[in-house]
């Protein structure tokens, strides 16, 4: 029986598109509704961060790192600043370490809220869950404004500590947020996690097995959703993560629902970490004295942290001058895009946007 001759169609989900999370281009080949091939094209936001870093001094680069993953500034700052400290053997006072961990965990919550909100926006729920998530994120951004005056590109950390100590009203607002947030997460979970349509669209979609996840170099919630229990905060603890108790949530099968649910549970764990830090913090200095121009000794190092998107690392080579000789960024969003083609081929158009949303990329980090 002769069938009708059909032809695959190549469509360009162009750089400007309502739901590709930034200027990100996909060339998708469809056979009917099914995707047979996919080619991501990016680089529209490349600003040459690594080259710029070679002509700025070590404190100026903190502002460059803010703008890489512009959704989670604190994590970028922390990764960079830790690398400089490791290179130059600068010790950080305890209070600074506690404040750093509180900021980074707050930033993790903010980033995961944004990821969840936008995933549900892609699912089609007309921005209603997005606005609820952003309402809570506004409270976190208000806290950041108390700390350093800015909301998004924070530049709060310096090699040697944090920029300035926390004001008094910060701790009251933080305590209110910590006590309100678990209820808010329960409410969000009751609205979303048991919704039949969300379950029907995310369960079993975009599977990523554990062996393939490790082979592709993905890190962060995606790796943990593929049931690989690996988190740098426990495997290679930094700052004061060895003094707080928290769990590492993992998923069971590596589909989109698992990635969403792992992020939700990570938010709960972050609240636990923050409340323990609030109990344990002591008054003290927040910044060690460093010379104005930091000149690390000749050498190289690599240090990484567990950011909200994955393992964010800096490989820095110093030649003894005031600027690094080479500052390479291991950007998690960039490397998390490696298995995109394998995750999406075979699925349908509607799943493409959801799987891309569940990977949670930020173009500033992909393109640097």
């Amino acid at each position: 029986m002769a069938t009708i001759r059909t032809e695959p169609v190549t469509i360009n989900l162009g750089p400007q598109h309502p739901s590709t999370h930034g200027v990100f281009r996909l060339r998708v080949t469809f056979d009917g509704e099914e995707i047979v091939d996919l080619e991501p094209v990016f680089g529209y936001l490349h600003r040459g961060t690594e080259k710029l870093a070679e002509s700025r001094n070590y404190v100026q680069i903190v502002t460059l790192t803010d703008r890489m993953d512009y959704v989670a500034s604190m994590s970028n700052n922390l990764a960079y600043v830790r690398t400089v400290e490791k290179l130059s053997n600068i010790k950080v006072p305890e209070r600074a370490q506690y404040i750093r961990v509180i900021s980074v965990e707050l930033q993790r919550i903010a980033s995961h809220l944004m990821a969840t909100g936008f995933l549900l926006n892609d699912l089609g729920a007309l921005a209603t869950p997005l606005v609820y998530c952003f309402r809570e994120r506004e409270r976190i951004l208000d806290l950041f404004e108390m700390l350093c005056g800015a909301r998004i590109t924070l530049s709060y950390m310096r090699p040697g500590g944090v920029f300035q100590d926390t004001p008094e009203e910060f701790w009251d607002s933080l305590n209110t947020l910590i006590s309100d947030f678990p209820n808010y997460l329960d409410e969000l979970e009751s609205l979303i996690t048991t919704n039949e349509i969300v379950l029907a669209r995310t369960i079993g979609v975009g599977l990523l097995s554990d062996a393939q996840a490790i082979d592709s170099g993905v890190t962060g919630p995606i790796l943990r959703a593929s049931s690989v229990k690996w988190d740098l905060r426990k495997a290679n603890p930094y700052e004061i993560y060895d003094r707080v108790n928290f769990d590492i949530p993992i998923g069971s099968s590596g589909d989109t629902y698992d990635r969403y649910y792992v992020r939700l549970q990570e938010m709960r764990e972050s609240i636990k970490i923050i409340s323990q830090c609030i109990e344990q913090i002591e008054p003290g200095p927040v910044r060690t004295e460093t010379p104005f121009f930091i000149r690390p000794p000749i050498g190289e190092t690599y240090s990484s942290i567990e950011g909200p998107k994955g393992e964010l690392g800096f490989y820095m080579v110093s030649d003894g001058g005031i600027s690094p000789y080479r500052c390479k960024v291991r950007a998690p969003s960039f490397i998390n895009l490696t298995p995109l083609r394998d995750m999406i081929t075979g699925w349908k158009m509607g799943d493409l946007i959801i799987i891309l949303g569940s990977i949670d990329i930020v173009l500033g980090e992909v393109d640097r």
Partner: protein
């Protein structure tokens, strides 16, 4: 309640009025056709104006309500409470350039918005609005009323296909292909829902359907109501079935290439659909203009329409959308099955009614309908619970996550 037989507006009376007017002016007998033409034009003018203004206010209402669901206000700058916002939108759209793509199929492209708007307007002809100032208010007591509605809404699918095809744009064609497939699939559950109403009312005329609802049909056959509501939500391509115009996926689907007044007409047709659907649902299932006597029937009709519209809006602003193959599966498997089951149930009960002598000239007695209501509600709830727990749970049970053996954080050094 017994309405007076005179109609509020009727074609015949208008025609006679125009004939007298023409004779007054002095044109004579051979201009009878002019009277018919003028009567027709004035009725169409009435329908179009009323519906367009109603749709304009409905868009305002929808934007304010969805904003309230999203913890923000809606438009509140143009006029008191933003009531002139729809007029500002239309003014902006009229002043835009009316582009037609170079390679587009011009007649098809231009006719598609009209083909989408006209059927939606035509449905309002047969809706019985109840009494108003002691006269029945509807435009035509077509004795095949509901069949007319089903036939006319089928033109929707052609119009959407025309819109996508005429644009000659890959996104638009993708969107309209899905749209045509979806709309055709959902006509069957809609027809099945209507058939179950027809069994109880015994006539296709809308006034007869209203008259036979001594107990509202939503109480008597909830499953039929559910099937019809789901099918008509899909016919309007509203969330959760709005895959064809999914903004976040295809950048606006079949109306990508439209701008200016053509887009305004498409937009108007899309927002008129809920009003018209609410009117049809109210007539078929909610008892039309029946209500307590302290308010006239027309007001009851408007109130019930408002409740249905609000329900549709609520769904739209809170639920995500289904994927296209899930939408088709829902139509052909779930709704089709439920629709047939509902018809079977109602038919069995109607036949049993004849056995028990509960039928008087074509419609059932109130007591029997109440018994039917109770039985049907129990059966519907049971069916839904069985489907959710037996079929649903199996698909969505997730195993407990176990850590993969490929990673081990416990080793390392101190």
């Amino acid at each position: 309640m017994n309405p007076t037989p005179a109609l509020f507006i009727s074609f015949k009376s208008l025609q006679e009025n125009f004939v007298t007017l023409i004779e007054l002016i002095g044109f004579g007998e051979s201009f009878g056709w002019l009277a018919t033409l003028l009567a027709g034009i004035s009725i169409s003018f009435l329908i179009i104006n009323v519906m367009v203004v109603a749709t304009a206010f409905y868009t305002w209402f929808e934007r304010r309500m969805i904003a309230r669901f999203q913890v923000r206000r809606g438009p509140n700058r143009n006029g008191p409470f933003g009531m002139l916002q729809p007029f500002a939108d239309v003014l902006k759209l009229i002043m835009k350039e009316d582009t037609i793509p170079d390679e587009a199929d011009k007649p098809v492209f231009t006719l598609a918005p009209i083909a989408l708007l006209a059927p939606t307007l035509m449905i309002m002809i047969v809706i019985p609005f109840g009494t108003f100032l002691n006269k029945e208010a509807f435009l035509s007591n077509l004795n095949i009323g509901i069949l007319f509605i089903v036939g006319v809404t089928s033109v929707n699918s052609i119009a959407i296909f025309m819109a996508g095809w005429g644009s000659r744009n890959k996104y638009a064609i993708l969107g309209s292909m899905r749209g045509a497939a979806m709309l055709i699939s959902y006509e069957i559950p809609m027809a099945l829902g209507i058939t179950s109403v027809l069994i109880l009312s015994g006539s296709l005329a809308m006034t007869e359907i209203v008259r036979s609802q001594s107990v509202w049909f939503i109480l008597v056959m909830p499953m039929g109501f559910f099937v019809f509501m789901a099918a008509s939500t899909a016919e309007m391509s509203r969330t959760p079935f709005d895959q064809i115009e999914a903004e976040s996926e295809l950048g606006s689907g079949y109306n990508t290439e439209y701008s200016g007044i053509k887009f305004a007409v498409l937009f108007l047709a899309e927002f008129m659909a809920p009003i018209v659907t609410a009117a049809v649902v109210t007539t078929l299932f909610l008892g039309g203009s029946h209500g307590f006597d302290f308010l006239p029937g027309g007001i009851w009709f408007a109130l019930k329409m408002f409740i249905v519209i609000f329900g549709l809006l609520w769904l739209r602003s809170t639920w995500p959308r289904l994927r296209i193959d899930q939408i088709m599966g829902f139509a052909w498997k779930t709704l089709f099955g439920l629709g047939l089951f509902n018809i079977f149930l109602v038919a069995v009960e109607f036949t049993l009614a004849r056995e028990f002598n509960q039928v008087n000239n074509g419609s059932l007695t109130t007591e029997y309908m109440l018994i039917m209501a109770a039985v049907n509600w129990i059966i519907t709830v049971a069916v839904i619970l069985i489907m959710a727990n037996v079929v649903g749970r199996k698909k969505y049970t997730r195993p407990e996550p176990t850590p993969s053996p490929l990673a081990n954080m416990g080793l390392g050094e101190n």
